[in-house]
């Protein structure tokens, strides 16, 4: 198993809400060559879950194993296995994409002699040759997102984690991204993908988990979810699952 | 017409109100307008007085060490007596004084071989106390000279009071407080004037360093940085209204910061002054100079310099793309702005036709002319006008720069700002 989340819990405190669990005992698995989707509305706990897996946040309880390495006990090994894409991470404005990629490639210990060819390869794959050498401050949102993606995979990690990567992208760039995700799957990577766009999940994910208020409410392949709920479209399934818990709470 | 003006004023008030609320929820503004002044001055005062005491203790326990060359001693008995009598100098015996001087075991060696024509004092330029020793020995030599003279007169056995020649009395005309005062009062006046000027200078500096920058950043730069500028831009009110509203908020916060600073500074100064008799007299005299007129004039000067500072920082904040940029520029401005008014503290500098046109400096000098009761109405008004004008120009520039940078407003028609002089 490439990635295993085991009972991940994260407690937050907010002066208005008091203490609450942003993520509560979230468990899921994702293996090589598989795309796993984490679906949920805004504030469901998707990002927090992914941050715990990427060792940026320490879980209050539970842990996750990435390629067999524990995020709590062996975070440095975990980091070597990961590539992370998110819409809200920034770029170094005064550097060029090529410089950024070289920097992260070197930091992630990608073999030096292979690094430049690798950057060219990624540049081709994501159609970013034209702006590889202009400073990031001059790039458009779509270009920047491509650089973010390229940065996440420059060291060819076995596990790729994407936190709502298509937020704010147009159809064309989203398309490039979707193609890229599928390419990763074909290359045998383990991809975890969070999104609140159902069509995207429907199209890409092999298996998925619906997460709401920090809890996993349902998980499985699309077929399994359809069978369970008796509905066809993921959006309906999602609304149904979320509504159930809302009424449960009431 | 009237309706339009009222509406505009209401808009300005709305914008200013929003900026004020916004600023007050920024912890930096609160820390720098309230917390720092209340704690900084007491802490500064305590450390300053502790440091002074420490230095005093050092001076008492570590006198300047002086040795005399063995064969000239009998020529300078008065100097030896005087130096022995003071605590701040220790006369020591030394076999080889020059070597000890070089080794830093002595601060000075006095060679009286050729006295009284020439008394040579040798000092070590590498010593920490080179200047201190020089000054100390020099001042004591005057006493020694007087003693030598007295000895000579006494030795002659004459009881004629040769020193009794004439008395000098000093009187000041048309002075402070309306009564004629003697020299002592002039010193006190000079002191109290300096005290007020330093306070005024400190005030300007403090509102510049801490009082104005955060409100200005919050009002202008934050719009750019937090990407709310385009929303503000699209509001159906005149853009100059927004700029003026923001500027007003900055001015008010700067005033508040200045007031808190002043209050705390005043409290601390009163504590400090009340502990020393001389200072107390000076302060009492300084306060006596104030009637309603001077207070009003001083307030005008304060208000104007606050306006100017607020305008300077508004311009900086409006022209900066990010906080970082604004802070970079402001540190340069700070350097210039802190050094300039320092000149006003030198005696002889007054508000005249030349200095009245140097911004910032002219305000400190205007304050000086008020506290020294030498206001020239024309020049004073000129200085005030010039300040107002500069503030208005800066505000106008902030208006152009702030909105001009927006890509959406690149068309010339939109760029032209309406009159802001109001």
């Amino acid at each position: 198993m490439s990635l295993q989340a085991i009972g991940l819990t994260k407690r937050f405190f907010d002066s208005k809400r008091g203490e609450f669990n942003a993520v509560q005992s979230v468990s899921f698995e994702c293996s090589k060559g598989e795309i796993f989707g984490l679906l949920g509305p805004n504030g469901a706990g998707k990002t927090t879950t992914l941050r715990m897996i990427t060792t940026i946040l320490k879980p209050t309880e539970g842990t996750a194993l990435v390629n067999g390495f524990d995020v709590v006990k062996d975070p440095r090994q975990v980091r070597k296995q990961l590539g992370f894409v998110s819409a809200d991470t920034g770029l170094y404005d005064r550097l060029t994409p090529r410089e950024i990629l070289t920097y992260f490639g070197k930091l992630s210990k990608y073999p030096k002699e292979k690094l430049q060819p690798r950057i060219v390869e990624i540049g081709n794959m994501l159609q970013m040759e034209s702006f590889l050498d202009s400073r990031c401050e001059k790039l458009s949102t779509g270009m920047r997102q491509k650089v973010s993606i390229a940065r996440a995979i420059v060291h060819d990690p076995p596990v790729i984690i994407m936190d709502e990567p298509t937020t704010g992208l147009d159809v064309l760039t989203s398309q490039v991204l979707h193609r890229f995700v599928i390419q990763c799957k074909e290359a045998g990577k383990c991809v975890v993908f969070s999104s609140h766009i159902m069509s995207e999940a429907e199209k890409l994910c092999d298996r998925m988990a619906i997460i709401h208020n920090g809890q996993v409410l349902a998980s499985g392949t699309l077929e399994e979810l359809r069978a369970e709920s008796g509905m066809h479209y993921l959006e309906d399934i999602f609304l149904n699952v979320v509504k159930e818990t809302v009424s449960d709470v009431r | 017409m009237l309706h339009g003006i009222i509406e505009r004023l209401q808009d300005i008030a709305t914008v200013a109100g929003k900026e004020l609320r916004h600023s007050f929820r920024d912890s930096h503004v609160l820390i720098y307008t309230v917390f720092v002044p209340l704690v900084l001055y007491p802490a500064g005062l305590v450390s300053l007085s502790e440091y002074t005491l420490w230095r005093e203790g050092l001076a008492e326990t570590r006198p300047v060490r002086v040795a005399f060359m063995a064969n000239g001693k009998e020529n300078v008995p008065e100097l030896i007596d005087v130096l022995k009598a003071t605590k701040k100098v220790a006369v020591t015996e030394s076999v080889d004084p020059m070597r000890e001087l070089e080794e830093g075991k002595l601060e000075a060696v006095i060679d009286g071989t050729r006295a009284p024509e020439k008394i040579e004092v040798k000092l070590n330029p590498a010593s920490d106390r080179f200047l201190e020793s020089k000054m100390s020995i020099l001042t004591h030599s005057f006493d020694a000279r007087a003693q030598a003279m007295k000895k000579a007169v006494d030795a002659a056995g004459s009881n004629t009071p040769v020193n009794k020649v004439f008395q000098i009395a000093t009187t000041s005309v048309g002075t402070v407080g309306g009564h004629k005062a003697g020299l002592r009062d002039m010193e006190v006046t000079a002191f109290s004037t300096t005290l007020i000027l330093v306070a005024f200078y400190g005030y300007t500096m403090l509102i510049i360093t801490v009082g104005a920058i955060y409100p200005a950043l919050a009002a202008f730069t934050e719009e750019a940085e937090k990407k709310t500028k385009s929303t503000t831009y699209m509001l159906p009110i005149d853009r100059s209204t927004i700029t003026i509203g923001k500027f007003l908020a900055v001015t008010m916060l700067t005033l508040l910061s200045g007031a808190v600073n002043f209050l705390s500074m005043g409290l601390v100064a009163v504590y400090f002054t009340w502990k020393m008799e001389w200072l107390k007299r000076a302060l009492a005299l300084a306060l006596k100079q104030y009637n309603l007129e001077t207070v009003v004039l001083l307030l005008i000067v304060f208000l104007l310099s606050t306006l100017l500072v607020a305008a300077i920082y508004s311009l900086i904040a409006a022209s900066a793309k990010s906080f970082k940029e604004a802070q970079n520029i402001s540190s340069l401005i700070l350097m210039v702005v802190t050094i300039l008014p320092m000149v006003a503290l030198f005696p002889g500098w007054a508000l005249d036709m030349k200095t009245a046109f140097i911004p910032i400096l002219n305000m400190v000098l205007a304050a000086k002319s008020v506290v020294t009761d030498s206001v020239n109405p024309l020049i004073f008004c000129l200085a005030c006008l010039e300040n107002l004008l500069i503030a208005a120009v800066l505000l106008y520039m902030s208006q152009i720069i702030f909105w001009g940078k927006d890509p959406a407003s690149s068309s010339a028609e939109q760029l032209a700002p309406t009159s802001i002089s109001g």
Binding site: I56, L57 | L53, D128, S141, A169, T175, Q327, P347
Partner: protein, 662 residues
């Protein structure tokens, strides 16, 4: 350190350097400020002074003489600064001044010439009239007085000659400097005093922006999570970034020092004799060399600071204190005769300031200079490492905090203690001073209750903590009272000893040492009231604040040793006096230890009351020397007391509780 580590540092260094250098603002800070502003700051004041002096020299003050001025007139004519506009037989000085005919009017008696020939019983009076509102008149006034004293000197000399008395013609000193040939790096005293201060300021200013850029910039742009997710060791990232800041800071410093050097060579020599600016090339080179470790340390400190900041705005806020700290560290140079070898070499940052001073004084002590460089470098490495641990703080990254209740439950009362200390300082300054200014004894009594006891009790009430348990208000083993009683003299001896030891470095002036005694002697209050206000009330209230509330709040988080040191140091600082920090600090440590050991606050109250009473009585009856001379007895008693205290150690169940939960 493996080659891998070096590689990582190199990668981070190269990237951040490129990034920083592409920022034009960095270049401004790096080049324009050092080249123009700093030399200007050094030379401008002296130039202004020169200018002002020049102004005075050329300035002419109009002067009017009224009355019989003939004996004095030649002296007034000779005076360069004064222009004699009118010499009148009779006139009204006020009118002349009002009409701006004269800046100063001097009136002489009508028979002045005759009066000077004889020695009358009543000396003739010379009046000087001037306008006090113009500050430059003070100079004219001084000049007039000088002229009159010349006249007086002449008359006296005439009289002495007439009497046939020979007085020493001259008693004048000439100063000469010792030739120092082996001290090539010797700079003149103004430069020595100013340069370290400028250097520190210069560095702080040039370093802070790059530091904020490379650290806070990552946070603000949200690139930090990615950096933290990379497989690189975090401290290596920090070392790389620190090197960038170092390089920028060092370049700025080199440029700044060089331009100061050039400026002094060009402009400095014009200053007058006393303030001559001398800054030899050797000194410049040594300064550059010595400042390397300093740049490293300040870089690491600024990195630490930047790691704490969420935004640039916050960074700017911390910048002023940082600058003050740097300036404060350089103030050590103003202490004469302090040398590196006295142990200062082991205090990072401060030691570099002192190194600079020593070198500029021409004194190069290679051993101690190297030691201080080494200490500073080690400190820098540690600080940078520390900064790397802050980098991934969840609070700073995403604002993740624990709830207040949870924090308190875990025994972390840091924030509350800070608040309490701040409130107490604030009240002490504003309320305490007022009260004590009103009446030293009764005011002190009120201060103790209102300023010291009240906030502490209020805080504990607010936190819902049990007073008795938190403040250790419980009866101890009876023997421990006896033990405390016997130990007291030893405590007093100890603080006297510490005070004397401290006086070696921080001597108190006489005004300070006699102040306390004067306060006691000068008031007419009965002795019992003095003891109540200055011994009993502090003994109770200060104990309840320090050994009660504060000790109670830190107990859950600190080990007993840490508790003693923390509360002791706080107690020392509370006295707000450099001369009392060490003795009261040590006393604080002992009192805390006593409370921790016996599990009760009462023994320490007893010791505190007795200690203060002893100070009053010894001050009043001048018993200190007598007391110290009985030291063997004191030590013996103290040992017996310690034995008793050891015997009185409470059982485990009676010890102070660690958790404070209600």
């Amino acid at each position: 350190m493996t080659s891998d580590d070096f590689e990582e540092i190199k990668v981070v260094f190269a990237k951040d350097l490129i990034e920083v250098l592409r920022d034009y603002r960095t270049l401004i800070v790096m080049i324009i400020m050092p080249v123009i502003i700093y030399p200007a700051l050094l030379v401008l004041p002296s130039n202004i002074a020169q200018h002002v002096k020049h102004d005075y020299k050329n300035k002419r003050y109009n002067i009017c003489l009224i009355g019989d001025s003939s004996p004095a007139i030649e002296f007034f004519r000779k005076a360069k600064v004064l222009t004699l506009t009118k010499v009148l037989e009779d006139g009204n000085p006020d009118k002349l001044l009002a009409a701006h005919v004269a800046d100063i009017v001097v009136t002489f008696p009508q028979e002045f010439t005759a009066q000077l020939q004889t020695i009358p019983k009543q000396s003739p009076r010379v009046n000087i009239y001037y306008d006090a509102r113009r500050d430059q008149n003070l100079l004219a006034l001084a000049e007039v007085r000088l002229v009159l004293s010349q006249l007086r000197g002449k008359i006296v000399q005439q009289r002495l000659d007439a009497l046939g008395i020979k007085t020493p013609q001259k008693y004048e000193l000439t100063f000469s400097e010792l030739k120092v040939e082996n001290k090539k790096s010797l700079a003149s005293e103004p430069v020595r005093n100013l340069l370290p201060f400028m250097l520190f300021t210069m560095l702080a200013v040039s370093i802070i922006y790059p530091a904020l850029d490379v650290i806070t910039g990552e946070r603000e742009r949200n690139t930090l999570p990615l950096l933290l997710m990379s497989a690189t060791k975090r401290h290596n990232i920090m070392y790389g970034k620190c090197l960038v800041v170092f390089l920028i800071g060092f370049s700025a410093l080199m440029i700044g020092l060089s331009s100061i050097y050039i400026f002094i060579q060009l402009a400095g020599q014009r200053a007058d004799d006393l303030l001559v600016m001398k800054f030899p090339l050797d000194a410049l080179l040594m300064c550059m060399l010595i400042s390397i470790p300093l740049v490293v340390t300040l870089s690491s400190l600024s990195i630490l600071l930047a790691s704490w900041c969420k935004t640039f705005q916050q960074g700017q806020g911390y910048f002023v204190p940082f600058l003050f700290m740097a300036m404060g560290a350089s103030s050590v140079c103003s202490l004469p005769e302090l040398q590196l070898s006295s142990g200062v070499a082991f205090i990072p940052v401060v030691n570099t300031a002192l190194s600079l001073k020593e070198v500029l004084a021409g004194h190069i002590d290679v051993l101690w200079l190297s030691i201080s460089a080494l200490v500073t470098m080690i400190f820098a490495v540690y600080v940078t490492y520390l900064a790397s641990t802050i980098l991934d703080s969840e609070r700073l990254l995403y604002g993740v905090t624990d709830s207040r209740a949870r924090r308190r439950l875990s025994g972390d009362y840091g924030l509350e203690i800070m608040l309490l200390c701040f409130t107490t300082f604030f009240l002490m300054f504003y309320v305490g001073q007022t009260l004590q200014g009103w009446d030293i004894i009764v005011g002190s009594l009120f201060t103790q209750v209102l300023v010291i006891l009240l906030p502490a009790v209020a805080l504990l009430k607010h936190l819902n903590l049990p007073l008795v348990k938190t403040m250790s208000l419980k009866a101890p083993h009876p023997l421990s009272f006896l033990g405390a009683l016997l130990v007291t003299p030893l405590c007093i001896l100890l603080s006297i000893g510490v005070y004397n030891l401290q006086s070696q470095i921080v001597p108190a002036p006489e005004a300070f040492t006699t102040m306390f005694t004067r306060l006691i002697m000068d008031n007419d209050k009965p002795l019992w009231l003095c003891l109540l206000g200055i011994a009993v009330a502090p003994g109770i209230c200060e104990e309840l604040l320090f050994r009660g509330a504060i000790l109670g709040l830190v107990r859950p988080k600190l080990t007993p040793l840490q508790q003693c040191i923390f509360v002791g140091v706080l107690f020392g600082l509370f006295h707000m006096s450099v001369f009392r920090v060490a003795p009261t600090g040590v006393l604080g440590v002992v009192l805390t230890a006593l409370t921790v050991w016996t599990g009760s606050i009462y023994p320490s109250m007893l010791v505190h009351i007795l200690n203060n009473s002893a100070a009053i009585l010894m001050g009043k009856y001048h018993l200190e020397e007598t007391f110290v001379s009985y030291w063997p007895a004191t030590v013996l008693l103290g040992l017996v007391g310690l034995v008793l205290l050891i015997k009185a150690k409470p059982k485990k169940s009676d010890r102070l509780p660690e958790s404070l939960g209600t």
